[in-house]
């Protein structure tokens, strides 16, 4: 009997409850510090510019892990109507007309510094966040599709169908235009990566590198300064945040 008795005087009670309290808040304090999550009341910083470097030599034609991951992450369904189905990221196959060399690359919103979609949007629903992510405000998009007309990368989709069971972090709805958000919810949560990049790494291709283009110490900046990165339709002067290597 005696061994089940709990001795709980005031000193012990205070000591133990303080330890339990500290132990319960510690992960929040330390993990947040570790993951660099941005508090909700703090605006995105213009000191950061999120971007991606895609190494086309690492990307294979038979792999579409990035596409599947993106669809799963954002709850994008296939309605069996390819012309109207939503695609935030797609695999593009390229054949060099001169040499015949083939490339397979992922194509998505290029998160331009000077985005034409933001310029043409009549209500300002298309906007660029301070950290360079181009998004659509789903509360003010009227579904005019002018942004789709203006996008040089055909990166946007119009929601042609009724949607159900949308995910809380990916608000989507019929009649609005949408595109790659660069997994803004993951960035704000402090994951430090995107669903496509994660999936690509997991499949062992390492073709999609995500990071802060403004930080000279980031892996993406180091690789860009070492190998360079091509901007698609650089003639338009949009300064895209997604760069390609190997084409």
């Amino acid at each position: 009997m005696k061994k089940y008795e709990i001795k709980l005087d005031r000193r012990n009670f205070l000591k133990k409850s303080t330890m339990v309290g500290l132990a319960s808040i510690a992960p929040g304090v330390f993990f947040q510090e570790f993951a660099h999550a941005r508090p909700l009341d703090e605006p995105a910083s213009d000191k950061i510019r999120w971007g991606m470097l895609i190494d086309t030599n690492q990307c294979t034609e038979d792999c579409d892990a990035c596409v599947t991951a993106c669809n799963d992450e954002h709850g994008i369904e296939d309605f069996g109507r390819p012309a109207t189905d939503t695609q935030w990221i797609r695999k593009l196959n390229l054949i060099d007309e001169f040499s015949g060399k083939q490339h397979s690359i992922p194509m998505m919103c290029q998160h331009c510094e000077n985005p034409p979609c933001v310029d043409v949007c009549p209500t300002g629903a298309s906007f660029k966040r301070a950290d360079g992510i181009v998004l659509v405000n789903k509360h003010t998009c009227i579904g005019c599709r002018y942004c789709m007309m203006s996008c040089p990368y055909k990166a946007r989709s119009f929601v042609h169908e009724n949607l159900e069971n949308q995910l809380p972090h990916a608000p989507r709805g019929k009649g609005c235009v949408e595109s790659c958000t660069l997994c803004v919810h993951k960035i704000d949560r402090g994951d430090g990566t995107t669903a496509c990049s994660e999936a690509c790494q997991k499949d062992g291709h390492q073709a999609i590198l995500f990071g802060d283009l403004n930080d000279p110490e980031s892996e993406i900046s180091k690789q860009l300064s070492k190998f360079g990165g091509k901007e698609i339709r650089s003639d338009l002067g949009l300064n895209t945040a997604v760069r390609y290597r190997g084409i």
């Binding site: 309605f79 109507r81 390819p82 012309a83 109207t84 189905d85 939503t86 695609q87 797609r90 695999k91 593009l92 196959n93 390229l94 054949i95 060099d96 007309e97 001169f98 490339h103 194509m107 034409p116 933001v118 310029d119 043409v120 949007c121 009549p122 209500t123 300002g124 003010t140 998009c141 009227i142 579904g143 005019c144 599709r145 002018y146 789709m148 007309m149 203006s150 996008c151 040089p152 990368y153 055909k154 946007r156 989709s157 119009f158 929601v159 042609h160 169908e161 009724n162 019929k174 009649g175 609005c176 235009v177 698609i232 339709r233 338009l236 084409i247």
Partner: protein, 398 residues
């Protein structure tokens, strides 16, 4: 001495057929609108490649025609040709009707038409679309004031001033509409400042053609006698505007042909033998331009009302085709993201996009024409829009 008298028309059985047709068109437009809102735009032929379709062809046709039809009033009050004065009120009424019709189609095709209030209150002034919202609503207001100045004897003296303002506004409005496409740098088919003057010329041509149809309707249904002066002037006007549109069309394609980057699109449209090639050469150029050009310039038909009516009908038909070719072919032509590479994907990259318009889109578009017609009929019933006579001896400055 001013001999012009105006009348309102009596509601009688002559309106039975037009009213029934308007009612059917509006009911089917409402049905299409509710269906698309409920089910989504996948029911239309539009998709993620061709994002603007038949509703936009109708809407832009009606909007540019609204601007052009007010030109008839401008000729009288701005350019001082009194022979057009009896037509000014009708010109204002038709401009209002056509613009309301066009805007309605645009709004009903939106993905979220319930957010119209957002479009009217939240603006991005870098967008030509946002500017157009002001240009279109401003145009309606100016046209109403213009009509008020014409109707109210005390204010007749202000007609010229308001007319000048309306004239300037019209030019800017049509420039703005053409610039919707002209400012799209990424698409080879657009990205041309030539689209602004082309749209201005198109507006003048389509507006005049619709006006001729209207005058003929009044002549045949309400015994408005139309003299030789009005007939010949309208015929000549049509001729000038056909030539203007032809000139800017040729110039648009010549400038594209000069720039190597646009050669692929020009080949696609002019020579490759797809549906747009036939629509361009047969619909727009042969039937919509050259045939009416011959009909309105030939001495053989210089006094024939039916020929003028046919010419204006061909111009309206050709105008629709022209806008279809501009709007649809420009989107169907694939983007060239990687020059020097053959592209393909599950998203239609590197391919000419398919677009087969659905019945719902035509229903929306015809609803716009029905609204324009309803505004016109309502106007001539309640106010004195219709000139009593357009005989030569009743016109000033023959």
């Amino acid at each position: 001495m001013n001999l012009i008298r105006y009348k309102s028309v009596e509601l009688d059985k002559k309106f039975f057929l037009p009213v029934i047709l308007i009612f059917i068109a509006l009911a089917s437009c409402l049905f299409a609108f509710v269906t698309l809102e409920h089910e989504g735009h996948w029911l239309t032929g539009m998709n993620n490649q061709v994002v603007w379709g038949i509703p936009h062809v109708f809407a832009i046709f009606l909007i540019v025609s609204a601007s052009g039809i007010l030109n008839i009033a401008s000729i009288s009050s701005v350019f001082g040709v009194p022979a057009y004065k009896p037509l000014s009120r009708l010109s204002g009424l038709l401009a209002i009707g056509l613009l309301i019709g066009g805007l309605m189609v645009l709004v009903l095709d939106l993905g979220r038409p319930d957010r119209l209030i957002v479009a009217m209150t939240t603006f991005n002034f870098k967008s030509i679309f946002a500017w157009n919202i002001f240009l279109y609503t401003g145009f309606l207001l100016i046209a109403v004031i213009y009509l008020w100045m014409m109707f109210e004897g005390r204010f007749n003296k202000y007609v010229t001033r308001v007319g000048m303002f309306a004239y300037g506004w019209r030019i800017i409005l049509t420039t703005g509409t053409g610039s919707i496409f002209g400012f799209l740098v990424a698409k080879e088919a657009y990205d041309s400042a030539m689209l602004a003057p082309l749209f201005i010329a198109m507006s003048l041509l389509f507006g005049t053609a619709i006006f001729i149809q209207t005058i003929y309707y009044l002549k045949s249904s309400f015994e408005v006698i139309v003299g030789e002066i009005i007939f010949k002037r309208l015929r000549k006007l049509l001729l000038y505007f056909i030539l203007a549109v032809l000139y800017f069309t040729i110039l648009f394609h010549l400038t594209n042909l000069y720039a190597t980057t646009h050669h692929d699109y020009e080949f696609f449209l002019l020579l490759s033998g797809n549906v747009y090639t036939y629509l361009f050469w047969i619909g727009q150029i042969l039937l919509g331009t050259l045939l009416p050009l011959y009909l309105v310039s030939s001495k053989r038909f210089e006094n024939c009302w039916n020929t003028l009516l046919l010419s204006s009908f061909l111009i309206i038909f050709g105008g629709f085709i022209q806008l279809y070719v501009i709007i649809i072919s420009g989107q169907a032509f694939p983007l060239d993201m990687f020059p020097g590479f053959i592209e393909n994907s599950t998203f239609g990259d590197g391919e000419v996009a398919q677009y087969i318009p659905s019945i719902y889109e035509f229903m929306l578009g015809l609803g716009g024409i029905a609204i324009a017609s309803a505004v016109f009929i309502f106007g001539i019933l309640i106010l004195e829009f219709v000139p009593d006579s357009l005989k030569d001896e009743h016109l000033q400055n023959k």
